[in-house]
Symmetry: C2
Subunit: 80 residues, 2 copies
Amino acid sequence: MKIRVDVKLKNGVLDPQGRAVAHALHTLGFDEVADVRIGKAIELEVNETDKEKAKARAVEMAQKLLANLVIESYTVEVLG
Amino acid sequence: MKIRVDVKLKNGVLDPQGRAVAHALHTLGFDEVADVRIGKAIELEVNETDKEKAKARAVEMAQKLLANLVIESYTVEVLG
């Protein structure tokens, strides 16, 4: 079963990587870019057939390891 | 307008960061994890009202800067 965990910085948390990319885009002439935020798209392949159980475990993984809950938020989606 | 560009490593390209996360998850007892791949979820805020035009420009950004097309693939989605 495939699960996707998206981890992104909370609003208000400075994103230096996003700033750098925004600056580079401006340099390349993409002046319409107002802001860039860069998060992680984590794809997990798990040996689990129960969808609900797989999702609950992924939430646990996000809370324990994948996301830093002080500055990041996460969403979990079962891709099937 | 908000646009999301997902950049991930092509199949077959080694993902050391994903490997490290998989290893850490095993250490924490998440033995059901078979594989982990980590990509970038880039959110762009652009000053553009035309949806089609915004998407076309984002594709251009992905090809010119956001993705390394040798080893990465990308998808562009207009979030509105």
